[in-house]
């Protein structure tokens, strides 16, 4: 069984913990991190405000791509250590939703954490996770990044209220 665990900066710890608890011990696990290329692009490439200025600033600023890559590797290493089992790691770069879906092709299970509000409501899934859940071709294990509030605190829509 091949399992892909997609981790993000904001929820990698609970995601890895629950993946470790829930997926079979003999599963072949890959931990995935995706760096958002458009954010790197924005940090590196002056926008319209630089109308008429040089396209690229002199190369003395921190090398954005290099920093992003080393931080992604560090995050994946920390996640593997916390996971405490054998796992591959994969660092991708691009548009987040697309990269996750492409990496998940051929997996038997995709594990991800909710990236939205910590409440029992549709917005508990942010727009990246929403796209991935909606479009994933394999079974998806959606874990809570934080323990969810009890059912009694849930906001029921009118037609379901008692």
């Amino acid at each position: 069984m091949r399992v892909l665990v997609w981790i993000t900066e904001s929820s990698w710890q609970p995601c890895v913990d629950q993946a470790g608890r829930l997926i079979p011990a003999d599963a072949e696990v890959t931990l995935l991190h995706v760096a958002a290329s458009e954010v790197e692009h924005l940090a590196e490439h002056p926008g319209p405000e630089r109308f008429g200025r040089r396209r690229r600033p002199p190369a003395h600023e921190p090398q954005v791509r290099a920093i992003a890559e080393s931080e992604a590797q560090a995050l994946l290493a920390a996640a593997r250590e916390r996971f405490g089992r054998d796992a591959h790691t994969e660092a991708r770069r691009g548009r987040v939703e697309r990269e996750v879906l492409e990496a998940a092709e051929g997996s038997d299970l995709l594990v991800l954490a909710r990236d939205g509000r910590p409440r029992r409501e549709p917005k508990s899934i942010g727009h990246y996770a929403r796209f991935v859940v909606d479009h994933a071709g394999c079974p998806v294990l959606l874990v809570w990044a934080e323990p969810p509030p009890g059912l009694e605190d849930m906001h029921w829509p009118p037609h379901l209220r008692r």
């Binding site: 900066e9 904001s10 790197e40 940090a43 939205g116």
Partner: protein, 415 residues
């Protein structure tokens, strides 16, 4: 005929700036266009000299500011600001965003939007990445604040410098009138960005890694000399009108002080920090716009814009300026409009600045022309998230424009 020639010259200069042809750089095209409008008589020699005489000091001021900011970089000011943001955040993304807002708004106001975009944004990215938090909100904040937080001082944006003389106010009065609009715009940006990026700013439980990283971040003290130079330069700007010395000389003094204390590696590095080709472009564009202005463009803009300093007039000026900045880009928009609104100084000029400075956040690419061009050239430019930018722009710009203009109107009643 002159009308057609000057409009073609303007269109060619703007197209070159957007298209960035390697064989025909924008500054060469603009300089050629400027030469042509004078040679064919679309602009008299005297008119060209007047335009250059008006722009010359502004361009010199810009060069001094660019060199000053580069000196701050050599002194390590931006690295120190990165460390300051990291330690001030305590590893919490919302606090980091607050630090980024403080630092980016301050850097933009004092050292201009160029410093924020070129020198600060990569540092902000690095800071966020090292704290293991998503860099997205922080990088977008820098990108937005570079425009919207450039209202405060005449030195914050080239557009302000270009319009400063037409304002007819002192450096300190400019700041006094623009302080409220500046704060209002930053507040709008804060409310919108912290909501839009709420998911990116959330951390599950306590983030021991980030907190530890923040605590372990190397303490880089602010470089005292460079900080003092920037502070004294600001004080100089403030007292310039009382002392009877043009503000540009304080910028020059600050730039020279940093060159002496932190010499650049080479003269070439110093030269390139001043972006000479851009300075030529601005001068040439000024001449071309002057030609277009004399041949009918100014009267068209004049008919479009209301006069006076009433609130509806100021709002109309701000909105038209923002629209024009999005159609043409803010630099040509400023050059075109400033001649017309000078009659309603200072209110009209400052309202125009609100429009041309805040407006570009609407389309990210800064102008419709650039947007169309990018669509044509890079049909699948995956590295630019246009949808996200348009959404942020739609949420911040209209509200900022109105709120800031009301702020300006209130300030005009008081100061």
């Amino acid at each position: 005929m002159n009308e057609a020639i000057s409009l073609v010259a303007l269109a060619a200069s703007l197209t070159a700036a957007v298209a960035r042809w390697r064989r025909a750089p924008d500054w060469v095209v603009a300089a050629g266009a400027a030469l042509i409008v004078v040679l064919v008589g679309a602009l008299s020699f005297h008119g060209a000299r007047t335009a250059l005489g008006r722009l010359g000091p502004t361009v010199g001021f810009l060069a001094a500011l660019l060199v000053l900011a580069d000196g701050c970089r050599r002194a390590g000011l931006f690295d120190a600001l990165g460390a300051l943001m990291a330690s001030g955040s305590h590893g919490r993304p919302p606090r980091l965003l607050a630090m980024v807002f403080l630092v980016a708004a301050g850097t933009t106001a004092v050292l201009s939007l160029d410093a924020t975009i070129v020198l600060l944004t990569p540092i902000v990215f690095a800071t966020a990445a090292r704290l293991t938090t998503s860099p997205r909100p922080h990088v977008y904040a820098c990108s937005h604040l570079a425009n919207s937080a450039s209202l405060l001082l005449p030195v914050s944006n080239l557009t302000n410098l270009l319009a400063f003389a037409a304002c007819g106010v002192s450096f300190t009065r400019f700041a006094a009138l623009m302080a409220l609009p500046w704060l209002v715009v930053i507040a709008v940006e804060w409310v919108v960005l912290s909501r839009v990026f709420a998911d990116d700013l959330r951390t599950a439980g306590t983030p021991p890694a980030a907190a530890a990283a923040a605590a372990a971040a190397p303490r880089v003290p602010l470089p005292r000399f460079a900080t003092a130079v920037v502070g004294l330069t600001l004080v100089g700007f403030g007292v310039s009108s009382i002392a009877g010395i043009a503000p540009v000389w304080f910028a020059v003094a600050g730039a020279v002080a940093l060159i002496l204390r932190h010499p650049p590696q080479s003269l070439r590095q110093l030269f390139s920090a001043a972006e000479p080709t851009f300075l030529v472009f601005v001068l040439a564009l000024g001449v071309v716009v002057a030609a277009a202005g004399e041949n009918g463009l100014s009267s068209v803009v004049d008919a479009l814009l209301p006069h006076g300093q009433s609130l509806p007039a100021l709002l109309a000026v701000a909105v038209v300026s923002a629209v024009l900045a999005n159609l043409l880009n803010n630099l040509p928009a400023t050059l075109i409009i400033v001649v017309v609104v000078a009659a309603s100084a200072p209110g009209g000029v400052l309202a125009m600045l609100i429009g041309v400075n805040v407006g570009p956040n609407l389309t990210y690419v800064g102008s419709l022309a650039t947007l169309l061009w990018r669509r044509i050239v890079h049909a699948h430019d995956e590295d630019v998230n246009t949808a996200e930018f348009l959404k942020l722009g739609a949420l911040t710009v209209p509200l900022s424009l109105v709120a800031a203009t009301v702020g300006l109107w209130l300030a005009l009643q008081v100061f």
